[in-house]
């Protein structure tokens, strides 16, 4: 693995103002609150967390849809966002964002060919014949018959629309693709096919994925590393196998224990985590998870930093089994 990460986030923050009466600022919603991450080329990094933890804001801030409030985004070693840096023009082509349903981004009144030409017209100076050749190549790679190019989106199936949507993203040759909940709402049989497609495309085009999902089983099967987010911060990060086998942060432990395991015991019978994440505009003091944590102690009044891939004061004690579970 080369030393230089493809994408690096340094203390990335994104705060949204909360407006009250007369549009007066009454508070701050800290959607991202100091995220440090690095994604190596060719890696698949999963981002998991409950809704409202800032997963999607993270993707959108990297993409440039939101400007960071503080911190920096480095792409391929160069700063592309934060600190008053203007976004380089060519970046759009190298960084692509896949929404939940990539097929829905197709214009219903355009043929698929026209939809596929559009990004090349905007981002490259290729001539028509060259563009066409490029498109044929990509369309074959995503497994779509070339004869379909003259059809309209409604004439093909949802699965094929998805492929066209992906082809449209890949035609520019991106380096990093941000997948935002790409499988939520899909049936498992379709989901399996979609995941297989993502895997194939990654191999074929040498892509790097940032895989945002709330589905732990999907992340486990898809990613190399995983970052667990809670209320705008990364609480634990590490290789998938390690995190799933030995979660260290109490939140990760709770999250993993909540996922049903077919063949295992019913988790609902002794699921310990109570409540839901607090409102991100009224953040608890110190460790964000302390209000729901079974092992919260006085030192948790101070925010722990991410060290050794885990942001918890007590993980060493917990891992060593020195702490008896507090009264429940």
């Amino acid at each position: 693995m080369p030393d230089r990460p493809l994408l690096e986030l340094q203390g990335l923050k994104r705060h949204f103002p909360v407006r009250g009466l007369f549009n007066r600022r009454v508070g701050t919603l800290r959607a991202l609150d100091g995220v440090d991450l690095a994604v190596a080329p060719g890696e698949v990094l999963g981002i998991v967390g409950e809704s409202g933890c800032g997963k999607s804001t993270l993707g959108k801030t990297i993409m440039g849809i939101h400007a960071p409030s503080d911190g920096a985004v480095l792409f391929d070693g160069a700063q592309v966002a934060g600190g008053g840096v203007r976004r380089p023009d060519g970046l759009r082509a190298q960084l692509q964002y896949v929404y939940q349903d990539p097929g829905a981004s197709l214009d219903p009144s355009w043929t698929l060919r026209r939809s596929l030409h559009e990004p090349l017209v905007i981002h490259t100076k290729l001539r028509r014949a060259e563009r066409e050749a490029r498109i044929q190549e990509i369309v074959a790679a995503v497994g779509l018959p070339a004869a379909h190019l003259d059809l309209y989106p409604h004439e093909i199936s949802g699965g094929q629309q998805r492929r066209v949507g992906l082809a449209r993203i890949l035609v520019l040759g991106p380096k990093l693709v941000i997948l935002d909940e790409p499988t939520s709402g899909l049936d498992v049989s379709v989901q399996a096919a979609v995941l297989a497609l993502f895997r194939e495309l990654r191999q074929a085009f040498g892509l790097t994925y940032l895989f945002i999902s709330h589905d732990l089983a999907v992340v486990r099967s898809m990613c190399h590393r995983v970052a667990v987010m809670y209320l705008g911060r990364v609480v634990e990060i590490g290789p998938v196998a390690e995190i799933f086998a030995r979660p260290r942060h109490p939140y990760t432990q709770a999250l993993l224990s909540a996922a049903p395991r077919i063949g295992g015991p019913r988790v609902t019978e002794n699921f310990a985590l109570q409540g839901e994440p607090p409102d991100p505009s009224q953040m608890p003091e110190g460790c964000r998870f302390s209000v729901r944590c079974r092992w919260a102690a006085p030192q948790c009044k101070v925010e722990p930093a991410l060290e050794d891939g885990v942001a918890c004061w007590r993980w060493r004690e917990l891992a060593a089994g020195l702490v008896p579970a507090a009264a429940e």
Binding site: V188, V190, Q191, A192, V218, P260
Partner: protein, 337 residues
Amino acid sequence: MADILTVENLALGFRTEGGLARVLDCVNLTVRPGEIVSLVGESGCGKSTLASAILGTLPRGLAVVGQGSVTLDGADMLRAGAAAGKVRGRTVTFVPQDPFASFNPLFRVGTQIMDLMRWKSPRRREGSWFYSPRRRRADREAVIAMLEAVQLPQPARLLQKYPHELSGGQRQRLMIAMALLPEPRLIIADEPTTALDVTVQAQILGVLRRLAVQRGVAVLFTTHDLGAAWEICDRVTVMYAGQTAEIAPRDSFFTAPHHPYTRLLLRSLPEEGRDPVGIPGSVPSPLSPPLGCRFHPRCPRADARCQAERPVLRGEADHLAACHHPVLAAQEARLDA
């Protein structure tokens, strides 16, 4: 013990511009008193239509009942209009999929719950229009007790809130409380946890299962999430494209599924150490469903017989599959090898 719910060979369709959409075709389902049954199937397989048929809320004029029957606690839900209305909301209640869209945003939660209690409370005398202060007080106490049972903190304060002030998990707890308050014998929960996070899902499933078992209420739990089905149910019924594919107790369903569709579905789950396989092809349109077994165009075991003849549910004891070529335990080792 008599079944609380029996659906027998139900076939029904909807009139559409493109002709008759045969949404359900030969569905069989039973729920025994106090039992939690998962109805598993992919989107478009007819789960929600079946739920409407059981509740007697099919759109009038559009739905065409071909054959079969739905019997709920002795009442025929397809044909008896007024009797079905009496059963609905009392003997059978409903937990919807989307807790965000199920409350009226303009009224306080408490008002909406008390509206429900006014008409559907177990303390209401049949045909009575009068809501006596005494019954109102008793109902309110029952509501508070129920909110505590579903683990909503500070129930009295919660009743004063508007729906937008509650989180998704809280609203779904309220929905479960409202489904339990009329003291029904059956709750139909239509994908109640799809919109929720896994930690909240674990809490909600836990509450639903515990209360159903405690109170002896039967639950029909429709879902496309096999993991959630594993968590909550005692028995599983699988549907594919409007046909019942397999009916089995939970353990034997997950360890030894008989129907090829079920096997492929279970193998589509992402799991450690192997890539999920998926099922080639797509779900057929109900406007022109395949003849015979509706799964045959996608089935690796299909032959000429599957195209011509619809398989009936058969099998030993509790474990039934509608397939001409079921995968039985003896063959299993050979197939997997």
